[in-house]
């Protein structure tokens, strides 16, 4: 359980209340498939904005466009007022927008602490020359990276596993390592691509609690998730994607009662709440 002492670990910045992330007219075409078709999305800097939709709706594609993994055909992605499209991925991370991956991407041969320390790349700057000759600046920065990463392990209850190769951890713990890596640099916003996929109920519960904690500390969360119970419970806003378009947008309550949404979930042969 994250105690009071760690409650402010993630962000010490004052809370801000405007749309930090604004996606406009985002369109992507893969050959004959229109993966995204003029998608609009706005996410608040201190809310949990969930993106749901049937498989193939374009959720991960949207996350990949926002985080710079590939370039959409048209549209714009503004973050804190700056255009992200065309920027290299590491620059986007440095601007305070980080992400996790649907298919786990921990560095299996590095230990847990090192995995999290890599996340500090976005918030540190010593390059080759400084590192080769181990200038005093490097030592100072390395200490900061390490301390901050250890705090993060503490927050995610991973301290006892700090020196294990990340590849040896349970699936649930590896998901936590990824979260810790995405958050260690104190980003303004984090994109979580299916953080509880494949987890059991207890693990889902833990991750859900941690996501709530992240939000409380003033970090915006964009959550792509199939677990409807979790989405409805923790989201401030839900955006429904279907076949590359925004089908509906609103509070969890509004979405649960939206006839269009119910139709695509039930009509598609998938039971609402169990589609995964």
């Amino acid at each position: 359980m994250a105690g009071k002492s760690t409650a402010r670990v993630i962000s010490e910045q004052p809370q801000v209340t405007h749309s930090v992330l604004e996606v406009r007219e985002l369109s992507v075409r893969f050959g004959g498939l229109q993966a995204l078709n003029g998608v609009h999305l706005a996410a608040d800097g201190r809310h949990i904005t969930s993106v749901i939709g049937p498989n193939g709706a374009g959720k991960t594609t949207a996350v990949n466009c926002i985080s710079g993994m590939f370039r959409p055909d048209s549209g714009s992605v503004r973050f804190n007022g700056a255009e992200l499209l065309g920027l290299p991925r590491h620059r986007i991370a440095r601007m305070g927008l980080t992400r996790t991956f649907q298919n786990l991407q921990v560095f299996g041969h590095m230990n847990v602490l090192e995995n999290v320390m890599v996340g500090m790349h976005a918030a540190s700057g010593s390059e080759f020359m400084v590192s080769l000759f181990r200038f005093p600046r490097l030592r100072k920065e390395e200490r900061r990276i390490r301390e901050r990463s250890e705090e993060m392990l503490d927050f995610f209850e991973l301290t006892s596993q700090a020196y294990k190769p990340a590849g040896q951890l349970s699936y649930g713990d590896r998901k936590k390592v990824e979260l810790a890596r995405a958050l260690v640099s104190r980003p303004r916003m984090v994109l979580l691509d299916e953080p509880v996929a494949g987890l059991n109920m207890a693990e889902t519960e833990t991750i859900g609690r941690l996501i709530g904690e992240i939000r409380r500390q003033g970090i915006g969360v964009v959550l792509v998730e199939h677990d409807m119970a979790l989405v409805m419970r923790i989201s401030d806003k839900v955006v429904v994607l279907c076949e590359g378009r925004v089908l509906a947008e609103g509070t969890p309550h509004e979405i649960q009662n939206n006839s269009e949404v119910i139709r695509i979930y039930l009509g598609g042969g998938e039971e609402f709440g169990l589609s995964a």
Partner: protein, 319 residues
């Protein structure tokens, strides 16, 4: 100091004392010569290991960079009378820009295009060395390279070069170690395992790959300059594609991704052709065979394998 830092320091002190103690017994110039070549190989392979073992990209052109360093140093000091030490720096800079030119287009692509590009580069270097014979001396080599001087004193004997070469090798090892245990080193290992996740964490993946490639080329270039002044004569054959394969074999035999691996690889494989000189014609086959056997049976290399064995032993005893 961390446990890892202490372990490195211990290993380094052992190595440094071995380096300091060996010439007490070994006075025979032939053995000193072998040790010097080992030292030069250590220098190259430590750099190459940063590229292969950490960033996960293979270069088959490092003998080419080695050659560029050697010939630039040789020709500029021999024919044009440049200052040897300055030329060494100049050669390193020029090699770095060559590596930049190769690295930028190839390392941005996904997949191992660097292997192809460096292979081509090494062949081009060999062709140039052979064909520009009024500059390079062609197949018979370039002679008349002046010795290096330190405080007005010329370094000529194997014994004097021993200190210079091994001193440089030890420094290069420390520098490489510093790099590995910094955010840059972690970034390199991260991009090796998952470029996407590394980039999302803020690691400039392409730039790091290009930079570590340049760094490894500079290591090879410095080794080349030392080689040229040490031997006083250089021939194209020393820098051909087979030499590159040898260097990669040393790296892989010792163990990719551990700094000591390169050292052990160079120590084991350098004397081999000397011991087996009656097999000289089959040298390349033997190296190829070693490479295959290691990759199939000991993919983590000798040092990696040894570490695992010791680790297993240690854990069994604890239970």
């Amino acid at each position: 100091m961390s446990r890892e830092g202490k372990r490195f320091l211990l290993g380094f002190l052992l190595l440094a004392s071995a380096v300091a103690a060996l010439p007490v017994w070994i006075r025979n110039p032939y053995y000193l010569n072998v040790l010097n070549v080992v030292g030069l190989h250590v220098l190259i392979v430590v750099g190459l290991n940063l590229l292969i073992g950490f960033a996960g990209h293979i270069s088959l052109g490092h003998a080419g960079f080695f050659g560029v360093g050697a010939y630039l140093s040789g020709i500029l000091t021999g024919t044009y009378g440049w200052c040897p030490w300055l030329t060494m720096g100049f050669a390193a800079c020029l090699t770095a820009s060559l590596a930049l030119g190769i690295g930028i287009p190839t390392l941005r692509l996904k997949g191992n295009y660097l292997v192809m590009a460096t292979l081509g580069f090494n062949i081009i270097v060999t062709v140039f060395l052979l064909q520009l014979d009024n500059l390079t001396g062609g197949p018979s080599g370039y002679t008349g390279i002046p010795p290096l001087t330190v405080f007005g004193r010329s370094l000529i004997s194997d014994f004097e070069f021993y200190w210079l070469i091994w001193g440089t090798a030890l420094v290069s090892l420390v520098l490489a170690r510093n790099l590995c245990h910094s955010r840059v080193g972690r970034g390199l290992r991260a991009l090796h395992e998952s470029p996407d996740a590394a980039a999302a964490a803020g690691v400039p993946v392409e730039r790091y790959k290009v930079k570590v490639f340049i760094l490894s080329a500079v290591y090879a270039s410095v080794a080349g300059s030392l080689y040229a002044h040490y031997y006083g004569i250089i021939t194209p054959k020393t820098f051909d594609i087979f030499k590159s394969v040898e260097l990669v074999t040393m790296c892989i035999l010792g163990g990719m991704g551990t700094l000591w691996g390169g050292l052990f690889g160079a120590v084991f494989l350098t004397p081999l052709p000397q011991l087996l000189h009656f097999f000289d014609e089959y040298k390349d086959i033997i190296f190829g065979g070693i490479l295959l056997v290691i990759l199939i049976f000991l993919p983590q290399g000798l040092v990696g394998w040894l570490e695992n064995r010791l680790h297993a032993l240690f854990q069994n005893n604890r239970r």
